[in-house]
Amino acid sequence: MSGAPGALRVLGDDKVVAFAPSADAVHPDSESPQRVRIIDGTLACLARHGTAKTTVDDIARQSGVSRATVYRAFPGGRDEILGAVVDTEVARLFSALGVCLGSAEELSQALVAGIVEASVRLRDHTALHFLVEHEPGIILGHLAFADSDRLLAIASRFTAPFLARWMAPAEAARVAEWAARIVLSYAVSPSPRTDLCDPAQATRLVHTFMLPGIEALQAAAAGPIDITPHRPGLGRSPN
C-alpha cells in the first residue's frame, strides 16, 4: 500500500507538514476504492482551500464518508492522507505517461508526447495550482536541491525503460532525467517564448536541443570524448 509514513516529513517548528513522493509511488492499483474515494475527496478540498484549511471533517464530507471511515482507512490521520495524495498523484502522472510513451513509434514522438503530457498535467492540476498560488512554501520546499534530485530519480526510473527501446539503458536513464529536468524547469518558471503544453513547441525543443544531445551522449558512451582542434586533449587538470 502506498501512503507509507516514509513519504512525509515535518519541517521545522511551524509544524508545516510536507510530503515527498516515495520512490515506490507507482502502483495506483494498490489503493482500495475507499482510499481512492478519500484521496480524491482530499484533492477536491486542497484545490479549493489548500492544506491549511483542509481538515479530516472536510475530507470526510467531501468524500461522502464518515470520519470513522476516514480514520479506519488512514489511521495516521491527515498527515497520512496528504502523503497518500502525493503518492497517488505521482503514480497517476506516470501511469498516464506510460500510456503515451508506450504507444510512441519513434524516439522523438515519445519525448514530445511525454513532455507535453507531463506539462499539461502539471499545469492543469487544480490542487497543485492552489498550493503554488497560496502555499508556495510547501511546494517550493520540494522543488529545489535534494528533493529535486529525488523527483528526477523517480521520473528517470519510471520513464527510462520506455526510452530504452531506442538506446542503451544507461543512456535511457540519462535522457529520462534530462526530459524531467526540462519539464520541471518550464513548469516551475514558465517562459513566454516556450510553452511545452503545445505539441508544436515541444517538438521544436526536442528536435533542436534534445536529439543532438542524445546523439552526443551515445557517441560519448561509444568512445572517447571528441576533442576540438584547439584543446590538447583529456587528462589535463580542470585548472
Partner: protein, 191 residues
C-alpha cells in the same frame, strides 16, 4: 550600496548563520551590527523581511562575482561552461549556511530564491548570449531561446546534479557537450 546597508546585511548574514532565518530578529541584527533598531528600520523600511531579502540578493551577487573571476582565462566556450558549473556546484555544497537553512527551514528561503531564480536565469542568459553568438549557433537556433534554455539547464544541474558527478571533470565535459550545448552551437569540429 551604502555602508550602513552593507553593514546591516553582513550582520544579518552572521545572525542567520548562527541561528537560522526564523530566529533572526531585527534586535539580533542591530546587536550584531552595533546599531540601534531605529537605524535598521531607517535603512530598511520593510523591516526584517526586507533585510533578509537584501541579504540573499547580496550573497547571490557575491557568488556570481566569484564565479565570473573563476571562468576568466577559459580557453574556449565549452571550458568556460565546465569551469562555471564545477565552481557553482562546489560553492553550493560547501556553503554551510545555505545547506543548513535548506535543511532546517527551506520554506523560509525558497520563495525568495524562486523569485530571484527568474532574475538569475535572465542574468545568466544575458551573460551567455554574446558568447553563444561568438561561438556560433547551430543553424536555425534562435539566440534568445538558446540562451534561455542554457540558463535553465545550468541552474537545474547545479541545484540538482541527478546522475551527474559534477566533481568529475570528464563527466562535466560530457554533460556540457551533450545535454547543454549539442543542439545549441555548431559542432566543435566538422563531421
Amino acid at each position: 550600496m551604502d555602508d550602513v546597508r552593507q553593514r546591516i546585511i553582513e550582520a544579518s548574514y552572521v545572525c542567520v548563520a548562527r541561528r537560522g532565518v526564523a530566529k533572526t530578529t531585527v534586535e539580533d541584527m542591530a546587536r550584531e551590527a552595533g546599531m540601534s533598531r531605529a537605524t535598521i528600520y531607517r535603512a530598511f523600511p520593510g523591516g526584517r523581511d526586507e533585510v533578509i531579502n537584501a541579504t540573499v540578493a547580496w550573497a547571490t551577487l557575491d557568488f556570481f562575482g566569484k564565479l565570473y573571476e573563476r571562468i576568466q582565462g577559459s580557453g574556449d566556450f565549452e571550458e568556460m561552461m565546465e569551469r562555471g558549473i564545477m565552481f557553482a556546484h562546489q560553492s553550493i555544497i560547501e556553503h554551510d549556511v545555505l545547506q543548513r537553512v535548506m535543511e532546517t527551514e527551506p520554506d523560509k528561503l525558497l520563495p525568495i530564491l524562486t523569485v530571484e531564480s527568474n532574475r538569475i536565469r535572465e542574468g545568466i542568459a544575458a551573460v551567455l548570449a554574446p558568447y553563444l553568438t561568438e561561438r556560433g549557433l547551430a543553424p536555425g537556433v534562435d539566440p534568445d531561446d538558446a540562451a534561455d534554455f542554457l540558463a535553465r539547464m545550468v541552474l537545474s544541474y547545479i541545484s540538482a546534479p541527478g546522475r551527474w558527478d559534477l566533481e568529475d571533470p570528464e563527466q562535466v565535459a560530457r554533460l556540457v557537450r551533450s545535454e547543454l550545448l549539442a543542439g545549441v552551437v555548431v559542432p566543435a569540429r566538422p563531421r
